[in-house]
């Protein structure tokens, strides 16, 4: 063999050998990244290690599909290596945790049972400081369910529901009595709801919820925060019931269509702050029902973009104790609707920008010189004959409204008055 050929063969050989060497490829973690961590190669091994009360604090699960339903009853960290999949038997919850300080990381969990009555889930946890991080849950009835799970965390998880009829799916994430828990940077798709019930101090941050029923549903969830999240194409973006001191900030709530579509809805809640959100392309941008219950616990709608909705703001009846300032009402088909024949005159409305503002600003101070009033004759007609809504947005209706403005022979009720409307669009960053 010539020296060149030998060198080439050696090079080829070492390349082949090198490929299997211990040098890690970028995606593969070392053998055990934590000293003292145990390695589980199969489901049975994993189960045994977990069940052992004196077992290791950290367990790494090998790549591959491991079939079985896991019960965790002691503090432990379960970490999956790339390609580790925990597949349930399809008859029950896949990972059932009843312990404190349990962490699930870097796993794919799938195939739970399908029993609604037992709420078969990908992960079910109760305890304190349970963490579910970088976990992918798919093909499960319920995604991650935290019940009486205090200070728990779901971070960078991905829950993908089944392709069932929306009603027959389970909830992607469920928090019940999970005070102080956090759901962060998580994506939930095709599930039913993300529910936060009877849970205080919940934080939902940086999440994306898509194609579900309720993007988030809060009930008796006081001191909750929803921020920097995206709710797209759900039936309702976020709905808050019977909760106090809720902050909804810098979220995108879009595409809630359908007869009951609402971007952001509140019922019987107090001390609510809605700031910097974009509510775009929903049937109703924001819905307020008896919120606040007490005018001394006010609702603040400040600096939001409410655009391209069928109705910008809908009120259940004449609400009071709501402050609406600095918002950008941009091309909503109807700015405001009040049910029950009431009006929005008791709201503290000022300094908003309206795309259909017809006033002027002679002194160029950025604030219109005449108030912006919503008072449409055509609305009176559509209220008593709802079939006329078909003509909304057409020239015919526009003509009627123009005439009413020019020749106020027929008085129409005032619904909404902003004494100092902005003439420039406020800059509100897209969440």
């Amino acid at each position: 063999m010539s020296p060149r050929r030998l060198a080439a063969s050696v090079a080829l050989l070492s390349a082949l050998v090198g490929a299997e060497g211990p040098a890690a490829t970028p995606n593969e973690p070392p053998d055990t990244s934590t000293p003292g961590a145990a390695r589980a190669r199969s489901f049975d091994e994993l189960s045994a290690l977990v069940r052992d009360p004196a077992g290791p604090a950290v367990i790494e699960l090998d790549a591959g599909v491991h079939r079985g339903d896991l019960e965790i009853r002691r503090p432990v960290t379960l970490r999956g290596r790339a390609g580790a999949v925990l597949e349930g038997t399809g008859t029950a919850t896949v990972v059932d945790i009843a312990a404190h300080d349990v962490t699930l990381e870097d796993l794919t969990i799938r195939r739970s049972g399908r029993r609604h009555t037992a709420e078969d889930a990908g992960v079910k946890a109760g305890g304190e400081r349970v963490r579910v991080v970088r976990v992918r849950v798919e093909d499960c009835l319920f995604g991650v369910s935290l019940a009486q799970c205090k200070d728990c965390l779901i971070e960078r998880a991905h829950v993908l529901g089944r392709d069932d009829d929306a009603q027959l799916r389970g909830d992607g994430v469920k928090l019940w009595e999970a005070h102080g828990s956090i759901v962060r940077d998580t994506t939930i798709e095709r599930s039913r709801d993300l529910v936060v019930w009877y849970t205080r101090r919940a934080v939902l941050e940086g999440n994306t919820v898509r194609a579900g029923r309720y993007g988030s549903h809060f009930m008796y969830a006081h001191d909750a925060v929803v921020r920097k999240s995206r709710f797209e194409g759900n039936v309702v973006g976020v709905f808050v019931m019977y909760s106090a001191r809720v902050d909804v900030e810098h979220n995108l709530l879009a595409g809630a269509r359908g007869a009951a579509g609402i971007g952001l809805g509140f019922k019987d809640s107090d001390a609510v702050t809605v700031k910097g959100n974009w509510m775009v392309g929903n049937t109703v941008g924001t819905y307020l029902d008896n919120t606040p219950r007490v005018p001394t616990q006010p609702v603040i709608l400040e600096g939001n973009v409410i655009a391209l909705n069928d109705v910008g703001v809908r009120l259940h009846s004449s609400e009071r104790g709501v402050r609406v300032t600095g918002n950008d009402f941009h091309h909503d088909a109807t700015l405001v609707e009040v049910e029950g024949g009431g009006d929005a005159l008791a709201l503290d409305v000022r300094g908003n920008r309206y795309s259909d503002y017809e006033g002027y600003d002679l002194d160029r101070d950025g604030t219109g010189d005449v108030p912006h009033e919503v008072k449409m004759l055509s609305r009176e007609l559509t209220e008593s004959r709802t079939s006329l809504k078909l003509f909304q947005g057409t020239a015919a209706m526009g003509l009627i409204d123009a005439v009413a403005h020019a020749l106020p022979v027929f008085s129409a009720r005032r619904l909404w008055v902003d004494p100092s409307p902005l003439t420039q669009r406020p800059s509100i960053a897209q969440p």
Partner: protein, 919 residues
């Protein structure tokens, strides 16, 4: 230049024309609708509309609901009266109240529960130890024949006290109340089977059967739900307790029920909302039941084959608990009598469609109604295809396999009723709306109508039967703010009548329910009811001809020892007899019949002060029993306006006082007054007062007297301790005041005692000077001077009374001691008040008059004050305690002293001398 103006003006003109056209169209519409010619003065109607601010829609609604004088409504609504415990009867479409039927709660106009025979029916409803005279009525149900209302009977439940009442619609009177011996509360009731074989009552909050005690830690094992099947005997018009039976259910907090019909005849469906079995524990930091019961995504719908259960009961496979035969869970699960299936989100309503093929469930926190297919469920049960079992061994059907589908209706669906066109009408509580959808075609768009506000139950014309009428739906709303004139914080509930005759639902009118929170109601065609106009002469409250009914002309008063029976009649405008005289203490029964035969000729009857009132409809008979325990003169009269001489329809009921017995003086005019002899209150066990009769005179061989003599020295000792405490307190501080301000971070102190004041008196005086308050030293000068003598006087008087007071003066022994600290308090307050209100007007700082706070926190200017009693006061209080104890002991001793009868104002023994030997 002209062109733009031309364009603009043309546009304006066109627009104006358009608007005017639209406006004119409206006018034309109105004219057409009202038929100018037919009504004649249509201009008047326009004026009326303008004057009252009515729209065309309002006028249409008025025309659809107004029932002119002399014309009748089309339907009756029998509405529960909620916590009023009675039934409201309302006419449709006028939405006028026609009647209130007395059921569980006494109603004096009808003479329901005020002395007549109705008392016996109300007594049937007693539970446990209590006379229950109110109810939380929920669901009236009319009797059915072949699944259709027959207008004969009405059954209602009482949630709070687990009872069912039977109302006879022949005369709209309650005839029977049965008490549930097993459950502690019911909700799923009353529901009737298609031929009213059974009236069904299912429990709500679980409890051990028979309501025995069991701690909540044993909830899973001991607490149970129950479904009672009351057998109804239509001939007798009564529930037959002996033929009734019950089924034990798991403690899932059952809610509403509905009975199957046609295809599902023989089956019963009950939903539940607490399959989590949460029991609360809020004080212990556990989640409340509200949260615990909402944890699970689904609860269990119970699907029960009651015909099979009935067979097992007839075969004797029951256990008798609290006198009722119960089919226990182990038997019913083994025999396949009941299966479970999931129902979403804390469900409430449970409604079978008119064809009996489907069952509609509304989940309180859901956005959809869920429709279950009966044929599918029956097949699953027969083929035993289940997905698991619950804790008690009952099989669970798979949700997806049991349903025919779900319809998105809106937020918070509760109850569903039906019309004759295959539509369901579901009440949406959270959204305040009614949703109309089709149970024959789930894809049909849902139509919604807003209601005001927060609808609970919903009803439609004959909507629970196999053949609903359509035509009307009534929304029974819980909240009515801004609907009616304000009447204070308790708002009426609101029934809203909805018209189904058009393509879309249309709100017609509001009706305030001013006396109740009605839960459920049923609407029945008016011509199905054939109530009596008058009674057969002598009919009593039980619907029978009373054996004691007097004939006209044969009235009499019969005396038998202390029992008096009066056989009376009433007819315009007199009573016979109209003079009744009895002796005090007699047991009187008045048997009275109204002899009238004409419609609406009702007489009332009352005897002043005796708390009786009965209502005598034509032919009605009442038996009124009471004890004539008050001597005196009591007019009796007709209470229901009956004739021109109604006021003259009166008489006298005279009660002769009992003769006094010779010898011992009697107390006068006391109800249950003192009897001869002594009365000993012996607290313990049954808490009754035991009467102990003592012999009139001491004899040689006398029964032993309780020996209280040993208490003499303790009495004296206690009294002397009291005085010692007072003496000791003399020098102590009685009250302390602190005043805090930024300039005085450690505060200023003021201590008050009987002799004077201590603390920062000078500093406080300086400050007080600025607001014009007098010097503290000037306070209570006389009191401080004479304080010592006062205490001495109290001591001396107490000792004298202690030694010398006879039985008559016993009560005064402790008075001086009690008066002492009270006097201090009153005096202090007086001086504080006086100082605070006599501020010198020339003072540099002006303050409005005030009284410094004596107890706890107060504020004077910028000073935060705090005051509390101190050791001296507490010693005085202790002294008072001793004084009172001493007085009590002393009275015991006196009562049992040998001189008790003859003792006057002076004690012959000076309290301390021993008794004579031999007594």
């Amino acid at each position: 230049m002209r062109a733009p103006i031309l364009v603009v003006s043309t546009l304006l003109a066109t627009g104006l024309a358009a608007a005017l056209f639209v406006g004119c169209e409206n006018q034309h519409e109105k004219k057409k609708a009202l038929g100018t010619g037919a009504l004649g003065a249509s201009a008047n109607i326009q004026d009326l509309m303008k004057a009252r601010g009515l729209s065309e829609a309002d006028v249409e609604a008025a025309l659809k609901t107004y029932v002119p004088s002399g014309k009748m409504d089309e339907y009756y609504i029998f509405a529960s009266g909620g916590q009023s415990g009675n039934v409201n009867v309302i006419g449709v479409p006028s939405m006028r109240m026609l009647k209130v039927i007395g059921v569980f709660t006494p109603e004096s106009w009808q003479g329901w529960g005020y002395g007549g025979d109705s008392d016996q029916i109300l007594e049937q409803g007693n539970q446990g130890k209590h006379k229950i005279r109110w109810a939380d009525m929920h669901h009236p149900n009319l009797s059915e024949t072949k699944g259709d209302y027959d207008g004969q009977f009405l059954f209602v439940n009482d949630k709070a006290n687990a009872r069912v009442a039977v109302i006879d619609l022949a005369d709209f009177q309650t005839k029977q109340i049965v008490t549930n011996p097993l459950a502690a509360s019911d909700h799923g009731g009353a529901f009737v089977t298609p031929d009213t074989e059974y009236v069904i009552e299912t429990s709500q909050y679980p409890a051990p059967l028979g309501r025995d005690y069991a701690p909540l830690s044993e909830y899973k094992d001991k607490y149970r739900g129950v479904a009672v099947f009351w057998k109804f005997d239509r001939q007798k018009g009564r529930i037959d307790r002996d033929k009734s039976w019950a089924m034990e259910l798991p403690p899932y907090t059952q809610d509403l029920a509905d009975v199957g019909k046609l295809d599902s005849d023989g089956w019963l469906f009950i939903n539940s909302f607490n399959t989590e079995m949460a029991v609360g524990g809020t004080l212990e930091g556990k989640p409340p039941i509200e949260s615990g019961a909402s944890q699970n995504d689904m609860d269990y719908l119970h699907v029960i084959n009651w015909k099979k259960a009935e067979q097992l009961v007839t075969a004797g496979k029951t256990k008798t608990i609290a006198g009722m035969r119960v089919l226990m869970m182990d038997v019913s699960s083994a025999e396949g009598v009941m299966a479970l299936v999931g129902e979403p989100k804390s469900p409430h309503g449970c409604d079978v469609t008119p064809d009996g093929k489907q069952l509609v469930i509304g989940g309180k926190l859901d956005t959809h109604t869920t429709i279950y297919d009966f044929a599918k469920m029956k097949a699953l049960i027969e083929q035993k295809k289940f997905e698991g079992k619950d804790h008690y061994g009952f099989p669970i059907m798979a949700f997806k396999e049991a349903i025919s589908g779900q319809v998105e209706v809106g937020l918070g669906p509760l109850h569903t009723v039906f019309d004759d066109k295959g539509n369901g009408y579901t009440s949406l509580f959270i959204e305040s709306a009614v949703a109309k959808w089709s149970y024959k075609d789930f894809k049909k768009p849902v139509e919604k109508l807003k209601v005001h506000y927060n609808i609970g139950h919903i009803l439609s014309a004959e909507g629970d039967t196999v053949s609903p009428d359509g035509k009307y739906v009534v929304a029974m709303n819980k909240m009515s703010m801004d609907r009616f004139l304000p009447v204070g914080p308790l708002y009426p509930q609101n029934f809203q009548l909805i018209d189904l005759s058009g393509e879309k639902m249309r709100m017609l009118m509001d009706m305030p329910l001013a006396n109740s929170e009605p839960h459920y109601s049923q609407m029945i065609k008016a011509d199905k009811l054939k109530p009596l106009k008058v009674y057969k002469p002598g009919t009593n409250a039980h619907g029978e001809i009373d054996p004691n009914k007097p004939e006209g002309g044969k009235e009499k008063i019969v005396r038998n020892g202390s029992k008096v029976d009066v056989y009376m009649t009433a007819i315009r405008s007199h009573f016979t007899p109209d003079q009744i005289e009895v002796e005090e203490g007699d047991d009187v029964t008045i048997h009275i019949t109204n002899l009238e035969t004409a419609e609406d000729q009702t007489h009332g009857f009352t005897i002043d002060m005796y708390n009786v009132n009965v209502s005598l409809e034509p032919g009605k008979h009442e038996n009124i029993s009471f004890k004539a325990d008050m001597a005196g003169t009591y007019p009796m009269y007709c209470t229901e306006f009956c004739s021109a001489l109604h006021l003259e329809m009166a008489g006298y009921f005279l009660v002769k006082p009992k003769k006094k017995l010779g010898g011992t003086p009697m107390s006068e005019n006391v109800s249950g007054g003192e009897q001869i002899g002594r009365r000993e209150a012996a607290p313990g066990g049954d808490g009754h007062v035991h009467l102990q009769l003592a012999e009139a005179k001491p004899k040689a061989v006398a029964p032993a007297r309780p020996r209280w003599d040993w208490a003499r020295w303790p009495t004296v000792t206690l009294a002397i301790s009291a005085l010692a405490l007072f003496g000791l307190s003399y020098r102590q501080v009685w009250w302390k005041f602190w005043l805090y301000a930024p300039q005085y971070p450690n505060g200023l102190k003021l201590q008050i005692s009987l002799t004077g004041m201590g603390g920062d008196v000078h500093e406080i005086d300086l400050l007080n000077h600025y607001i014009g308050m007098k010097h503290l030293a000037d306070a209570a000068p006389t009191e401080r001077q004479l304080g010592g003598y006062g205490v001495a006087a109290v001591a001396v008087i107490t000792l004298v009374l202690l030694a010398a007071a006879g039985k008559k003066l016993n009560k005064f022994v402790a008075l001086p001691a009690i008066a002492f600290p009270l006097g201090f308090l009153a005096d202090s307050f007086y001086w504080l008040y006086s100082f605070g209100h006599q501020l010198d007007p020339r003072a540099p700082l002006r303050m409005s008059p005030f009284t410094p706070e004596m107890f706890g926190n107060g504020k004077i200017g910028q000073f935060e004050t705090f005051a509390q009693p101190s050791i001296g006061f507490w010693m005085a209080v202790a002294g008072v305690g001793c004084a009172i104890a001493s007085a009590l002991l002393r009275s015991r001793v006196c009562d049992n002293c040998e001189h008790a009868e003859t003792c006057g104002a002076v004690c012959p023994r000076a309290m301390v001398l021993p008794e004579k030997k031999g007594t």
